[in-house]
């Protein structure tokens, strides 16, 4: 935690303190370290913390085999952007003798391919549109900014869940099952469900190591409110030492609070339209509303500063929203639609491709894989770094 404090938060607190003093006309020159943030520091700090806390709570025994412990700490697929593993889940798998499993390896490769498609085709193409709009937000009307925010929502999903799929698939090739990190979050019917499906390894980490120790939901109303805000604001702060992330966390707390207070936060536990082909009207409306709320919060996540985010929101809620978008990335929109159709039909699996083609003749499956590889080749967007590498 000390490393995280120094590398990630020291400069933020120093600058914030100086700003606070400046507001009462005391001008301080903040003493900052200006250190380069090591890649994935937030991920492996939390990864390591889970080990220490679980030993403290007697959930596991301390590992005495240095090689096994080192592998747990530095298992390469999850090192830079998760999933944030638990010692109770990963260490026993490391200690167990593993044999090569054909179906597990094939499934791993399939998940890697799907992850690659999500990152290179979906996220990187959406990123081009989102970057263009966010970087020149003052030049666009409200509807274009809405499009930019939607594109960023899809970009961050494709980018992060794509990385997670690649990590999980790679681990499977070594016979290791990592924690699931995404479960089709944009098909959620409320924000509580969204948070059970988005960055699951982080949400469950905060639930187990922060929310429940604080009393969770089995406390009075005010404590429930306090606990909800604590975990979401801390989650925002975990992403980055910037007020934009803190407001993003705060907004999500605000969105989830009604369902926690009314005890309806565990209404939608199963995937939407389970065992049905299409959702009903109410489900569609809930999905759209949840997506819009999540997208609204993402504006703060993507904006350069709080002022920038408010400028965007101000333009969105102006009369300029009744105009048509000034940018219409037809090819990207078609790819996104095709992507969500596949995600919809594959939503019963751990990832979209897992069961969608099972039972089909091998020629059919291979054709699909080759088509996906062709998409990666021909529809690749401009190379973008993984968003979560900065955390």
């Amino acid at each position: 935690m000390g490393f995280l404090g120094i590398f990630k938060y020291f400069d933020f607190f120093a600058a914030s303190l100086a700003s606070a003093f400046a507001s009462i006309h005391i001008h301080l020159d903040p003493w900052t370290l200006g250190l380069i943030l090591p890649v994935g520091i937030s991920f492996y700090t939390f990864h390591g913390l889970s080990y220490v806390i679980d030993i403290y709570h007697n959930k596991i025994k301390a590992e005495h085999n240095f090689v096994d412990y080192s592998l747990f700490v530095s298992f390469f697929p999850l090192l830079v952007a998760g999933p944030i593993e638990r010692a109770t889940h990963l260490l026993p798998q490391i200690k167990k003798t593993r044999n090569f499993d054909y179906s597990q390896a094939v499934d791993g490769l399939r998940q890697i391919l799907w992850g690659l498609f999500k990152k290179v085709v979906i996220a990187d193409n959406c990123a081009e549109v989102a970057n263009q709009i966010f970087n020149h937000s003052s030049d666009y009307n409200g509807m274009t900014l809405v499009l930019g925010a939607v594109m960023f929502s899809i970009q961050i999903y494709g980018d992060f869940s794509g990385y997670s799929d690649i990590a999980l698939g790679t681990a499977r090739l070594f016979g290791i099952e990592l924690l699931k990190n995404f479960a089709f979050p944009y098909f959620s019917r409320d924000i509580a469900e969204f948070w059970r499906r988005w960055h699951i390894s982080l949400s469950s980490w905060f639930r187990d190591y922060l929310y429940i120790p604080l009393g969770g939901s089995k406390v009075g109303v005010w404590k429930k409110v306090r606990n909800t805000f604590i975990i979401f604001v801390v989650s925002g702060f975990w992403h980055g030492a910037n007020w934009t992330f803190i407001i993003w966390g705060f907004l999500n707390a605000l969105f989830i609070l009604p369902s926690i207070l009314s005890n309806t936060n565990r209404t939608n536990m199963q995937i939407v339209a389970c065992e049905k082909t299409f959702p009903n009207f109410k489900e569609v409306a809930s999905i759209v509303l949840t997506f819009l709320l999540a997208t609204f919060a993402w504006i703060f996540f993507r904006a350069e500063s709080v002022v920038h985010a408010f400028q965007i929101i101000q333009t969105i809620f102006s009369l300029s929203i009744i105009n048509a978008p000034e940018i219409l990335p037809k090819a990207t929109l078609l790819l996104v639609i095709a992507f969500f159709i596949v995600e919809w039909f594959g939503r019963m699996g751990n990832y979209a491709l897992q069961f969608i083609f099972s039972g089909k003749p091998f020629l059919w499956r291979w054709s699909i894989y080759i088509a996906l590889i062709a998409c990666v080749f021909f529809f690749t967007g401009k190379e973008q770094a993984f968003i979560y590498f900065q955390f």
Binding site: F100, I373, F377
Partner: protein, 318 residues
């Protein structure tokens, strides 16, 4: 494990095979759809990089077209020349920019550097010979692999749309501004637009220049190497000695027109190595007269001539 590896290898081979078929088909379609036809009355063609692109305004030079493109190395000029000659039997003379910065090793980045692979290599992919493809793969395998999707995407686009190559990927570009404004706003100019000149000669550039020379000789097309005017402050003169040695020793039988000291003022340059619109206008008017009056005579006595030589010959005649 054995079954997994066998199937994985088989699948990889399938993907590779299909990719090759796709690339071959797209290349064939691209060659079929796109053309290198130029105006029927054009008998003089100029090729080269940004120096030539900004210096010769072909709208004021008779029977002459400028198809130079910024950052184009001889590696990509070779297929361009081949296709222009193949599609335009009326072309009698090729002017090819030959200047200091084309010799320096740094220019090899113009062949297989990341930016150039994604643009020039993708553009000329169907027209490049297999040994040149191999050269690019060998010199930058990782950059090549990372750019392959961009190349394939571009190829696919070109296979389904029509392009007039010489006009789309070349042509005169008038520049605004002058040397004073360049010096004041130097920081605004991208460093990548200017090549840092060091001594030494790029063997690759020279090899492809020799291939262009050999090709044109074989096709009985006149080739004239041409050096466009540069300002005296141009740092590219750092390798002037190498440049002169090359001209005297290795290019002794090739016609060379040196206009580097063409009389221009500071106001005629956008920066030390590029003419602005005003400079291009002056040079092009002179060049038009030269092509129509002196050109047929000037190379009779010697292969290498400069502006000063042409000017003095004119005075002597009078």
């Amino acid at each position: 494990m054995k079954q997994f590896l066998t199937r994985l290898s088989l699948f990889s081979l399938c993907v590779l095979g299909l990719l090759m078929i796709l690339i071959a088909t797209s290349s064939w379609l691209a060659i079929k759809n796109n053309d290198f036809k130029i105006k029927k009355n054009t008998t003089y063609v100029l090729l080269g990089h940004s120096h030539a692109k900004c210096a010769y305004n072909d709208s004021i030079i008779l029977n002459f077209e400028n198809f130079s493109q910024s950052g184009e190395s001889y590696f990509y000029t070779l297929p361009k020349i081949k296709e222009i000659i193949r599609s335009n039997p009326q072309v009698k003379t090729i002017f090819l920019e030959f200047t200091n910065n084309q010799l320096t090793k740094k220019v090899e980045e113009w062949i297989a550097g990341k930016k150039y692979l994604g643009y020039y290599y993708a553009t000329y992919f169907p027209y490049i010979e297999s040994k040149s493809h191999l050269f690019v793969i060998k010199s930058q395998p990782l950059v090549y692999a990372r750019n392959l999707p961009i190349v394939c995407k571009d190829l696919l686009k070109k296979s389904i749309s029509k392009h007039q190559y010489p006009y789309e990927f070349g042509g005169f570009k008038p520049l605004q501004g002058n040397l004073d404004s360049y010096k004041t706003n130097k920081a605004q100019f991208r460093n990548e637009d200017f090549v840092e000149i060091k001594r030494g000669v790029s063997k690759i550039q020279l090899q492809y220049l020799q291939e262009i020379i050999a090709f044109l000789k074989d096709k009985k097309i006149e080739l004239i190497l041409i050096r466009s005017p540069q300002h005296k402050s141009y740092q590219g003169f750092a390798n002037e000695e190498d440049f002169n040695n090359l001209v005297k020793n290795e290019l002794v039988s090739v016609k060379f027109l040196d206009l580097v000291k063409f009389p221009l003022s500071d106001d005629d340059f956008r920066d030390p190595e590029h003419l602005n619109n005003q400079g291009a206008d002056k040079l092009s008017r002179w060049f038009n007269t030269f092509l129509n009056e002196d050109f047929s005579m000037v190379f009779h006595n010697q292969k290498h001539v400069s502006y000063q030589y042409i000017n003095e010959s004119k005075i002597t005649k009078k």
